[in-house]
């Protein structure tokens, strides 16, 4: 009787574990922590974000055009995990999806994957602004450069 109970319990546990498993491949963890609209519609961003980034990269590098919406730093500042502060890692916004799609862009060999608003010179809010905003309890997010 006891062994039957154990077998039933084991069966239930096994079934539950299988029900929770999403499939052979783990799906990417896409967490949108900051609510609001992205710079382009979602389907455009999913398919073409790399084209937008590449276009902006050449404009910035060669012509000094430093508009924000399509810049990599803006991606990072919005999508970096509030827990880890980065877009990388198993649950990072960029890396989890790139792992799923089996692509290995080398952006992060040179670019900074962590959101560091305090480090941005000139354009970003100053340390003082961020501190003031934090003291007001707004977490520094509403400070406009």
């Amino acid at each position: 009787m006891k062994s039957l109970a154990i077998a039933v319990l084991w069966g239930l546990t096994f079934a539950a574990a299988h029900a929770a498993e999403p499939g052979r491949t783990p799906l990417p963890a896409i967490a949108i922590e900051k609510p609001g609209q992205c710079v382009e519609p979602k389907d455009v961003m999913r398919r073409d974000h790399m084209k937008l980034l590449k276009h902006q990269r050449d404009k910035t590098m060669h012509e000094g055009i430093r508009t924000k919406p399509h810049s990599l730093n803006e991606c990072v500042s919005c999508h970096a995990s509030q827990k880890t502060g980065t877009v990388l890692g198993a649950e990072g916004f960029c890396q989890s999806c790139h792992d799923y799609a089996a692509v290995k862009p080398d952006c992060w060999d040179c670019h900074q994957p962590k959101a560091k608003p305090a480090l941005q010179s000139q354009s970003g809010p100053s340390n003082r602004d961020l501190l003031d905003a934090m003291q007001r309890g707004r977490g520094g997010q509403e400070v406009k450069p």
Binding site: M61, E63, I65, C110, Q112, L119, Q120, S121, S123
Partner: protein
């Protein structure tokens, strides 16, 4: 000669931070007086110096490309540069995320201090040396991929997206201004991406300049009270740097190469 001329000037006039277009108190037309003039006179006034007014606006709008109307340059006064002071070097490192140079043969140096001494006379001087932002840069000539390029406003840069790290430009540069990044980096300034496998050099702090700022070294030199570095637009006859190089004798290092440098030195 140049020393006496320079000493005659009050130090405030040489401060690099007030940018071109800063006319000072001596200008005959006060703002109040200007506004009080009739509309017709106003139209006449704005028509003639209109171009000037556009140029005064230092910060270019973010969405406009740089143009050849501007040629950024720097003037370094070696008579004010202090031997042993490395404020410019450390400011550059901090701004651009360079680590302190512990292995001089391989660590990246965008700017370095050089002490010179005339062995016959004993006359010594100190100066910072960095990318001279040539109008005819040899590094651009030799680059096999087009990664090394000169922007329209005269700033010579490396496009790391295209650089294959062959280091021809390092051999071509007469000023030893370029460095190869040998090791991976993770602590970049978000505005200054840099990493292993590419060549890099002084960018004149292009990310600051594009937003109307001045290079970090110039700011640090002024903050340290030396005011030995002056940054500005060489194409603008009214800019502080243009006025200065018109007044005093300045030198291009290795002028015999006829590279038309953006960086000039005073007192060498």
């Amino acid at each position: 000669m140049s020393e006496s001329m320079e000493r005659a000037q009050p130090a405030n006039d040489r401060h690099p931070l007030p940018r071109e277009g800063d006319r000072g108190e001596g200008h005959p037309t006060s703002r109040r007086g200007f506004l009080a003039t009739s509309a017709a006179a106003l139209a006449g006034l704005t028509l003639a110096p209109g171009i000037r007014l556009v140029e005064i606006a230092a910060a270019k709008p973010d969405n406009e490309p740089v143009t050849a109307k501007v040629r950024w340059g720097m003037l370094i006064d070696t008579t004010r540069c202090q031997s042993g002071c490395t404020e410019c070097v450390s400011a550059c490192g901090k701004e651009n995320g360079l680590s302190e140079v512990t292995k001089p043969r391989t660590d990246a140096q965008w700017i370095r201090k050089i002490d010179l001494k005339d062995l016959k006379t004993g006359h010594a001087l100190s100066l910072p040396m960095m990318c001279q932002h040539c109008a005819h840069p040899p590094c651009v000539d030799v680059c096999p991929t087009g990664a090394s390029f000169k922007r329209a406003d005269g700033i010579v840069l490396v496009d790391r997206h295209i650089c294959i790290g062959c280091r021809y430009c390092m051999m071509a540069c007469p000023y030893k201004a370029r460095s190869f990044v040998h090791e991976p980096h993770t602590d970049q300034n978000p505005e200054v991406p840099r990493g292993q496998g590419c060549v890099e050099s002084c960018t004149l702090c292009v990310h600051r300049v594009d937003r109307g700022g001045t290079p970090a070294c110039v700011e640090a030199c002024a903050a340290a009270g030396h005011n030995a570095m002056l940054f500005g637009d060489l194409n603008d006859a009214e800019s502080a740097i243009s006025k200065r190089i018109r007044e005093v004798k300045t030198t291009q290092v290795r002028a015999d190469l006829k590279l038309d440098l953006g960086v000039r030195y005073e007192g060498i």
